[in-house]
């Protein structure tokens, strides 16, 4: 197995792990999700380094690598959409809270800062 094959296989394994991120329990499964993303980051970085300056391969190898990379890219995009859906759901809950708030006349001021950089 060539270096490229090994790098692509590692990327595929790491990308497959994205599907295991528990979108319904993102807070509880955050550590595992973060670990999966870290592994994928390392795989992508390794691949980028391998395909950097001076890299050559046969047309067959290149076509196979492109196909496999596109599949990983699509899987990553799907994971992105999944996370965006989680965000939309959370914000929908927030809006629902506001409606409840308005209906019942609560007085609590919401926390003025939701700092997600932490």
């Amino acid at each position: 197995m060539s270096h490229l094959d090994r790098a692509l296989e590692e990327l595929e394994i790491a990308t497959a792990a994205l599907a295991g991120i528990p979108m319904d329990g993102l807070v509880d499964g955050f550590v595992e999700a973060r670990a999966a993303l870290e592994r994928r980051s390392l795989a992508i970085a390794g691949l980028a380094e391998l395909t950097g300056g001076g890299f050559t391969c046969s047309p067959e190898e290149r076509e196979d690598a492109l196909r496999r990379l596109r599949l990983s890219d699509e899987a990553g995009s799907e994971a992105q959409q999944g996370l965006a859906a989680v965000t939309r759901t959370a914000l929908a809950e927030w809006r629902q809270w506001s409606q409840i708030y308005r209906a019942l006349g609560a007085s609590r001021e919401p926390d003025p800062v939701l700092d997600c950089r932490a």
Binding site: L26, T56, R70, G76, Q80, Y101, R108, R117
Partner: protein, 453 residues
């Protein structure tokens, strides 16, 4: 309190969109808060206004009851021709009268004696050779046995005081001489009762205390009739008048006690009533009309207005039939004025009729005080009930707020955590996709024909 805008600070490219959504949600949420705050402020203001109104209502009711009391007592005032020797107050008299006090030969006083000798040590020197003493309070005697440990001044004092028979013993310490400690024995009330303390009552029977300050009754004549009282305060001889004997009289001297109507008492009561009436009109006026306060339309305000009208229009059945007959006029502004010249010009007969008009705290004009009591009664009054309602409403609001705040707090924490997690993962994934896309592009331009690495 204005809402603080919610700030969402994320690291993903969606952060600004999140912020827009949150701003909108918080903006919507701020509407009920203001309403709620206004409602709560209104409740507090209503309670305050109601409290002020209650004070004014109570003051008017009290002034009306006072008019009834003055009328019931015929505005009688008690006076003494010699207040140095005899003072007098009206304690409920309902008719004029004059009494003569003479021959005050004794002023009531309480017995107060002291041990004939002093003792060296109040806690050790024996006071009784036999250990047996007998205390006499007037005609009653009480035996006391002193033991080795209590046969001293302090022990004797404690024994006497523990009897609780209307005499109090104390130890006096002069601080001079070899025997500086004495027993002081005093009757708890005035009256002709002797205090004696006999040592060895079955033997030598020696009185341990002096007989120099025995108690005495107040002795005098009322309208020539001899009276003897244990107290100088005499409230059970003349109905409705309480007088106090303060000194003895010369043999031929007399003191006159007079109960007579003083119309200025009634005038002052009417003046006070007018003042309180107008104060209440002002208080109610702030809650009616175009610039009415928060109590506009309130049942209590309407009730007070109705009661005010009944007061102003009250009709009696005697020579004095209305307030206007006494110089009290209702103005166009709803307030009343009191023309004292009209009142001063009333005859004695008309003043008596005025007493009938005002009645008593429970009858006639004075009976109107009950109407205001029904409003201000601290337990069953309308104001109390209304304030209880306000308190309950406030509690309901507070309870709702507490419950909702709990739910909101939990929801907010959860949403924030979800957003934070999603945003962090999103940022990382976006970065990965960028690198992956670049890798794809790079591979697209890679030359081929060489061996794979």
């Amino acid at each position: 309190v204005p809402f603080t805008p919610l700030v969402f600070t994320g690291i993903s490219s969606f952060s600004s969109d999140f912020q827009t959504v949150l701003n909108r949600a918080v903006s919507i949420a701020s509407l009920p808060l203001k309403t709620l705050q206004n409602n709560e402020a209104d409740i507090l203001t209503k309670k305050t206004v109601l409290g002020s109104l209650n004070t004014a209502v109570d003051a008017l009711g009290t002034s009306i009851a006072a008019l009834g009391t003055v009328a019931k007592n015929k505005a009688l005032v008690a006076t003494s021709s010699n207040s140095v020797l005899v003072s007098v107050v009206n304690s409920g008299a309902t008719s004029a009268a004059t009494y003569t006090i003479s021959d005050i030969t004794s002023v009531a006083k309480a017995a107060s004696e002291t041990s004939k000798i002093g003792y060296a040590d109040a806690n050790a020197t024996p006071v009784s050779a036999s250990g047996q003493v007998k205390l006499w309070v007037g005609a009653k005697s009480y035996g006391i046995t002193l033991t080795a440990g209590t046969n001293n001044l302090a022990g004797l004092r404690n024994a006497i005081n523990s009897l609780g028979v209307g005499a109090t013993a104390t130890v006096l310490t002069t601080g001079t001489g070899l025997t500086p400690n004495y027993l002081s024995l005093s009757a708890n009330s005035s009256g002709a009762a002797a205090l004696q303390l006999f040592e060895d009552p079955d033997g030598a029977n020696t009185n341990l205390v002096t007989s120099a300050n025995q108690g005495a009754n107040a002795i005098f004549k009322l309208n020539g009739v001899s009276v003897s009282k244990t107290s100088n305060l005499v409230n059970d001889v003349v109905s409705g008048a309480t007088f106090t004997i303060l000194g003895t009289t010369d043999p031929a001297a007399t003191v006159s006690l007079t109960l007579a109507t003083d119309r200025t008492q009634l005038q002052s009561a009417i003046q006070n009533f007018a003042s309180k009436y107008n104060a209440l009109v002002d208080s109610v006026g702030g809650q009616v009309g175009p610039a009415a306060g928060l109590l506009s339309g309130d049942l209590i305000v309407r009730e007070v207005q109705n009661d005010l009208r009944q007061v102003a229009s009250y009709q009696g059945s005697g020579d004095i039939k209305s307030l206007s007959d006494l110089g009290v006029q209702l103005g166009k502004d709803g307030k009343i004025t009191f023309d004292t010249t009209v009142f001063t010009a009333l005859s004695a007969s008309q003043v008596n009729s005025a007493f009938d008009f005002f009645g008593s705290p429970g009858t006639g004009f004075g009976g109107l005080a009950d109407k205001f009591s029904q409003i201000t009664d601290p337990v069953t009054g309308l104001v109390k009930l209304q304030q209880d309602n306000y308190d309950q409403a406030d509690k309901r609001i507070q309870s709702n707020i507490t419950d909702l705040n709990d739910r909101i707090g939990q929801l907010q924490t959860r949403v924030a955590a979800q957003l934070q997690a999603a945003d962090a993962l999103q940022a990382q994934l976006t970065s990965q996709q960028s690198v992956l896309t670049a890798t794809l592009q790079s591979l697209n331009f890679t030359s081929f024909g060489k061996a794979a690495v």
